[in-house]
């Protein structure tokens, strides 16, 4: 396939003529491939696509998203995931299969206004997104600085193999949790580091399409040396580095109530975020969740057990 030069396009712009496969944000019009969004058009071996520079988040299965609990029914929570639909988090996902609306108090686990990091397990044209927190690093986010960016800038913020976000994390001594829906939570002990990280994230958002952005971010952060390739890579493309603390799984949310994370001032004095002992009563909560999960034969309990085991080992 003939390679085409990357170029800026707006809706209706003809990208290329010929028999190419339209991949993303591209439609066929006669013998031309036409862009449907403002963005950067590029062609690869697979076909032609446009990387958009604006737009709301459209949920996709398996995306990691950060959402805010906005409502609660007797069987599930409604979560605002910054998309055109509200997502649902079933109570059974948090309490286990033996959840009973009569016995279990949903407000004890997640209250309205809480931030969670969750994975989308199902979504299609006919129904709203369904979330799960049954995985490592998923669950309630107890503290941090809340930043909202355009969902289209998320890949740029992560960078190639997480390079951009690693640069920001290492230079500011913070931990950055990125949701594919454009919500970012930054945690760290140093208020200056937090504000610097927030500034860098905003810079990436505003100048995502410009050239030499990495260099400019590095100069903002006063990073002289190139990123060490030996550093561990991100746990996943939309999350964090290994050295950072994962958020507490919701099954262990017996931790003392943490302030909701939207206030920047509250994030200035968070508990220790860089080690596993972030929650002061971790051992208690771990053991209680372990007991609970031992009685539960469901598949998810094994996940959480392994979570708890890991935490215990690290504490030792």
């Amino acid at each position: 396939m003939q390679e085409i030069k990357r170029r800026y396009v707006i809706p209706g712009d003809k990208i290329i003529e010929g028999n190419y496969k339209p991949l993303m944000n591209v439609v066929k019009s006669g013998n031309y491939l036409v862009s449907t969004r403002v963005g950067i058009a590029e062609a690869g071996k697979d076909g032609v696509k446009v990387i958009p520079l604006s737009g709301v988040y459209i949920p996709r299965v398996n995306d990691l998203v950060i959402g805010k609990i906005i409502d609660r029914s007797s069987l599930s929570w409604d979560v605002d995931i910054n998309a055109c639909f509200f997502a649902h988090l079933p109570a059974q996902d948090v309490f286990g299969r033996d959840f009973s609306p009569a016995k279990d108090d949903m407000g004890r686990q997640l209250s309205i206004g809480d931030l969670i990091i969750a994975r989308i397990v199902s979504f299609d044209r006919t129904r709203d997104p369904m979330l799960t927190v049954q995985d490592k690093d998923l669950g309630k986010i107890p503290y941090g600085e809340f930043i909202k960016i355009s969902p289209t800038r998320v890949p740029r913020l992560i960078g190639k193999r997480g390079s951009m976000i690693q640069t920001i994390e290492q230079a500011t001594q913070t931990r950055v949790i990125i949701g594919q829906n454009g919500i970012v939570v930054v945690t760290g002990r140093d208020p200056d580091g937090l504000s610097l990280a927030a500034k860098a994230i905003k810079m990436v958002e505003e100048e995502s399409h410009t050239t030499n952005l990495t260099q400019r971010v590095k100069s903002l952060l006063n990073v002289q040396d190139p990123v060490d390739p030996e550093q561990p890579e991100s746990m996943n493309t939309s999350s964090t580095t290994e050295s950072a603390t994962p958020p507490q799984p919701t099954t262990e949310s017996a931790t003392p109530p943490q302030p909701t994370t939207e206030s920047a001032t509250e994030s200035a004095t968070p508990p220790q975020p860089t080690t596993e002992s972030a929650a002061p009563n971790n051992s208690k909560s771990s053991s209680s969740s372990k007991e609970k999960h031992r009685n539960d034969n469901s598949e998810k309990s094994s996940n959480n057990d392994s979570n708890s085991d890991q935490k215990e080992k690290k504490q030792e």
């Binding site: 030069k5 990357r6 170029r7 800026y8 707006i10 809706p11 209706g12 712009d13 003809k14 944000n25 439609v27 019009s29 036409v34 449907t36 969004r37 403002v38 950067i40 958009p52 520079l53 604006s54 737009g55 709301v56 459209i58 055109c84 639909f85 509200f86 044209r125 006919t126 289209t152 399409h209 410009t210 050239t211 030499n212 952005l213 990495t214």
Partner: protein, 248 residues
């Protein structure tokens, strides 16, 4: 004997009441992204028209029963501010505003790929701050740019421009005086890349030949407007760089 009406609208040199030639557009200025709280927005100055457009969505439909299972609902609200005209305009939606809201929605719909957002809604709010004839065309131009700014999948931008008749002359881009005193006014909305007309209204009388000339002139005006829309979008997203430079 002089025809006083003709004298006011066009002089013996073919200059119109505001000094323009017959094929001349009013000055157009478009700014993208002026409303921070909206998903997409644009401000247009089309001659003396000043219009602000905000786009919200795709988002949840309220009331829920309006949602369509297979595609997105497009809602459009054209509204003239009470201070937009010489005498105070009652802010309640008038018959004319309801009609213009409808024709604007119908002219924008063909450019949008609404089937990409089932069960959702896109709201377009068009607020006329100052009116001087041709506000529906100016509103469509700004709305189209605001929709692109909101990142909604579109087949093409929509460009709109009116043409009309002053006595025997077909002229481009009718202003308020020409609209009231002239003989015909024909607003046209057009998809410049797809070469399709999405709005065609006519107020007045034209012969077949005049109609063809008027349509042709309006389409050429739409093409000129498209260049300005394109430039405004490019400026917002890419600054003054029109070509992408590869990062080293």
């Amino acid at each position: 004997m002089y025809n006083l009406k003709e004298l006011a609208l066009m002089d013996e040199n073919g200059k119109r009441s505001d000094g323009r030639g017959m094929d001349e557009l009013r000055s157009i200025k478009i700014t993208v992204g002026v409303v921070k709280n909206a998903d997409g927005s644009a401000y247009i100055e089309f001659g003396k028209n000043k219009i602000i457009v905000a786009v919200y969505g795709p988002r949840e439909v309220h009331p829920k029963h309006m949602a369509l299972p297979d595609r997105c609902v497009l809602r459009c609200r054209y509204h003239m501010s009470p201070f937009s005209t010489d005498t105070r305009k009652n802010p309640a939606p008038s018959r004319r505003e309801v009609e213009i809201s409808k024709v604007m929605r119908e002219s924008l719909e063909p450019s949008l790929i609404l089937s990409d957002y089932p069960r959702a809604v896109i709201d377009v709010f068009v607020e006329v701050l100052q009116a001087d004839g041709g506000s529906r065309c100016a509103g469509i131009n700004a709305a189209s740019v605001a929709l692109a700014d909101a990142g909604i999948n579109m087949r093409d931008l929509v460009s709109a421009c009116a043409a009309g008749r002053l006595s025997d002359n077909i002229v481009l881009d009718i202003n308020d005086l020409e609209d009231k005193e002239g003989d015909a006014d024909m607003p046209v909305a057009y998809l410049p890349n797809l070469e399709q007309v999405t709005l065609l209204q006519l107020d007045g009388k034209l012969t077949t030949a005049q109609f063809s000339e008027c349509l042709e002139k309006a389409i050429s005006g739409c093409k000129s407007v498209y260049e300005i829309q394109k430039e405004a979008l490019m400026k917002k997203y890419f600054g003054n760089e029109m070509e992408l430079k590869e990062e080293a």
